[in-house]
Amino acid sequence: MTDEALIVLENVNKWFGPLHVLQDVDLSVARGEVVVVIGPSGSGKSTLCRAINRLEPINSGTITFDGQPLPAEGRALAKLRSEVGMVFQSFNLFAHKTILQNVMLGPLKVRKEKQDVVRERAMSLLERVGIANQADKYPAQLSGGQQQRVAIARALAMQPKALLFDEPTSALDPEMVGEVLDVMTSLAREGMTMVVVTHEMGFARHAANRVVFMADGQLVEQAAPEEFFANPRSERAKDFLSKILTH
């Protein structure tokens, strides 16, 4: 991890109608850093994550990625998105394409790379997430855990500078959570810059460089995981942790 900031949010505000979902949020993510965002539902975690690649436009404030402010809708934004991988709660694999085609689509159409180069990279990524033998199947034929690992491979195929995870394990059966977290943990170890919205406290503990706690649209506190789980400073965080860690 270097100290150079890759993702910087300053004074970010976002409303859904009267609902103030992001309130003066400041957050800086360094290159190679793994930031885990936790908090109760409705706290604005997902919105924060989606704002970083402008899937949710913000109402005020600035977001910069790799030194550039997020561009408005158009080609420049598409280019920026191609450098920020995103993994969704509901996988969102392209239902009409095979696993291999899912992974190859971005590099082929966005980067205009050569077919054989892309195929080779896609297969090695599928190998890495352990699904190379399913390359010719369609998403619906795979389990949730397998689909999510494909989604990670699809994001990695673009060779992104950072990866955003929006509750990647929340839609999975419990026995499949581990296989997805394993892939994420190995990415974190390799120095991928990651922003992970999750309820997996185990992952936050062992893979995060920093835990960010959000409640009611505000960034309440942030600290290294050991410190945060052992000594949460805010009442809100203490309350949250007491509710989830007692079971």
């Binding site: 280019k79 995103m86 694999l93 971005g106 994001a155």
Partner: protein, 236 residues
Amino acid sequence: MSVLVDKFDVFAGGFWLTFQICVLAAIGALVLGAVVAVLRISPVPPLRGLGTAYVTVFRNMPLTVVMFFSAFALPALGSNADFLRVPVLDQIFTRLGTDLPYFRFALIALVLYTAAFVCEALRSGVNAVSPGQAEAARSLGLTFGQNLRYVVLPQSWKASIVPLGSVIIAMIKNSALIGFFGVVGDLSATADQLTGAEGFAFVPVAIGISIGYLIMTVPLGALLDRIERRQAVAAR
């Protein structure tokens, strides 16, 4: 009922003309409707507004009124819709090239009117694709056009095809209006000619005309049913 046999050539001629305008109008409406649908789902607000305005106007106006505008306003503006006299095409669809412009006016009205419904059928298909699909495509960096082409449209056409078919069937039946706007000799106008000018009884003539329309609409409906059944199986 002998009129069906004796005047078979009149019915056949009417059928042929109605068939021609329907083929042309269907192609025109599908193309224009697709363009308007792209406008309506575009990320650019003014384009979206334009698409929405188009649909609001042409979906809510009676076809008769659209026909009036086309047949009276265009000549008033000094246009005989000569841009529709496309070489080669006017060899196949001879009425496109004739000096009397009413076939072209009627065609324009049918296309403008039907395109609004085509747009909405296509859009309902697009809306049937889960928003996550388009989001995933955007997050990979696909542009709006690439997103439609590679991700959304290949999945949406299945949900569009049945409503589209209904729109085209309605259009075929709507084409019965063109006889009242100067187009001589379409299937409906055949009734006028045979009963009014030649004194045949109305009911047999009406039966003949009905058969003409059914020849076009029933196979189309059957085709749609087949496609729908295949999809229902595929979805399981």
